[in-house]
């Protein structure tokens, strides 16, 4: 694991809650599916344990509902979905993220202009 990767992991950790909430806002989902959808959206560095741990924490914090969907082949799946609290958390975090990313983009644009990317 090189330093760049460590940094990515650290960055991701901060926004993983938001990412997971956003995925679940699209549609209810189970652990592995959440991971897959995150990766499909370009979050390649997310670890399985991180997603599982985040889901359990958000559930424990009362932001998610969960229900089990039996399946004929393969294991039963525990689906998670947003409840009101989760939606509120998502809205707030999204606002924070938007302003934060605006500020960072501004900073980074200045830098890339200066270096003539």
């Amino acid at each position: 694991m090189n330093h760049a990767e460590v940094d990515t992991t650290q960055l991701l950790k901060g926004v993983l809650d938001l990412a997971v909430l956003a995925v679940l806002a699209e549609a209810d989902s189970y652990g592995y599916d959440v991971l897959r959808r995150l990766r499909e959206n370009g979050l390649d560095h997310v670890g399985d344990a991180s997603v599982y741990g985040t889901l359990r924490r958000l559930y424990q914090a009362g932001a998610l509902n969960s229900y089990v969907v039996p399946s004929e082949e393969g294991p039963h799946r525990k689906y998670y979905g947003l409840n009101n609290r989760g939606r509120k958390a998502l809205d707030q975090s999204a606002q924070t993220w938007v302003s934060l990313s605006k500020a960072l983009n501004h900073l980074l644009n200045g830098r890339s202009n200066g270096h003539g990317k």
């Binding site: 993983l16 670890g47 991180s50 599982y52 924490r57 799946r77």
Partner: protein
């Protein structure tokens, strides 16, 4: 799907993850890990290949789980589950509507406290200056002491209410001092108010008959129990072995268990102790005889000596 090839992986992998997280408090570990096997089955079903290859070694997986689940307070920092349960219980109480209503109402009671604390302070000071062991709810206005108490309480109430109203503009240090003072007064108030309303009681001695050592209930004066009786003659001479009886002819006895003294009763011809011969022969626990009190004798109308400054026991 290649799930079945590695189905036996799952219990082993899960057990290794659990072992790596065994330092978590049990309830927290359960919440985190209750779905672990299901989830691993899911991963195995969709991904194929050995779990350790897909997910990394179980120890690393456990570490990542811990970090994600713990959020900001990642590894190490643990809280006593009992303490956390207490915290949750307090949260439940403090967020309930009735608590907020009570909380909002309490400031209304401030003036009542200002009056009460002034009253308690006056009570405690007068009791400390001249103890009567008989604090009354309302001091007797016809006694000098009572009148003084009432006046002092009135002044103290005015001062206390003024202090209370000014308190809000206090600096931080003064505020802490004020809170400490109020807590102190409140602590003193509990025993002071609890001892209130003990009216003078003259409990009669219930004697089982003369000559019996069995002691009845204590005899009380307004400010304490009677432990001995010292008879004197009219001219101030101390008398000994005076036998006392009440209006029913019962031997007047005292509770010998009061105070840290031992009483020696003379033994009669019938072998029974005589318990109503006064003054009682009493010794302190460490052996010295109990000295008679200094008494002031009343002035008799005749030419007999007016007063003897003190009297000593035999």
């Amino acid at each position: 799907m290649a799930s079945n090839d590695h189905a036996s992986d799952i219990p082993n992998y899960a057990a290794a993850v659990r072992a790596a997280l065994s330092d978590l408090p049990p309830d927290q570990a359960e919440v985190l890990l209750e779905d672990l096997e299901d989830h691993l089955r899911e991963v195995a079903a969709e991904a194929g290949g050995p779990l350790a290859e897909r997910l990394g070694p179980p120890e690393q997986y456990a570490q990542e789980l811990r970090a994600a689940y713990g959020g900001a307070r990642a590894s190490g920092k643990r809280q006593d589950p009992a303490l956390r349960d207490l915290g949750r219980a307090i949260d439940r109480v403090t967020t309930s509507t009735w608590y907020r209503q009570v909380r909002a109402f309490l400031p209304e009671l401030r003036p009542a406290w200002w009056v009460l604390r002034a009253y308690v302070v006056v009570l405690v000071i007068t009791e400390a200056v001249s103890p009567t062991h008989n604090i009354r709810l309302i001091p007797n206005p016809f006694s000098r002491r009572g009148l003084l108490e009432i006046v002092a309480a009135a002044i103290a109430i005015v001062v206390s209410v003024r202090l209370g109203r000014r308190n809000r503009s206090l600096a931080k240090g003064g505020r802490v001092l004020a809170i400490a003072g109020n807590v102190l007064i409140a602590l003193i108030a509990v025993p002071a108010l609890a001892s209130m309303g003990t009216f003078p009681s003259f409990a009669m001695v219930e004697s089982g008959g003369s000559g019996q050592a069995a002691q009845g209930r204590a005899l009380y004066m307004p400010d304490g129990p009677v432990t001995n009786i010292y008879p004197y003659s009219r001219d101030g001479k101390p008398l000994t072995d005076v036998l006392l009886y009440d209006q029913e002819g019962r031997a007047l006895t005292l509770d010998s268990k009061i105070g840290d003294v031992t009483t020696d009763y003379p033994v009669g011809a019938d072998g029974q102790p005589i318990t109503n011969a006064y003054p009682l022969h009493q010794r302190h626990f460490y052996g010295d005889p109990v000295a008679a009190p200094r008494v002031a004798f009343p002035p008799w109308p005749s030419a007999s000596p007016t007063a003897s400054p003190s009297a000593s026991p035999r």
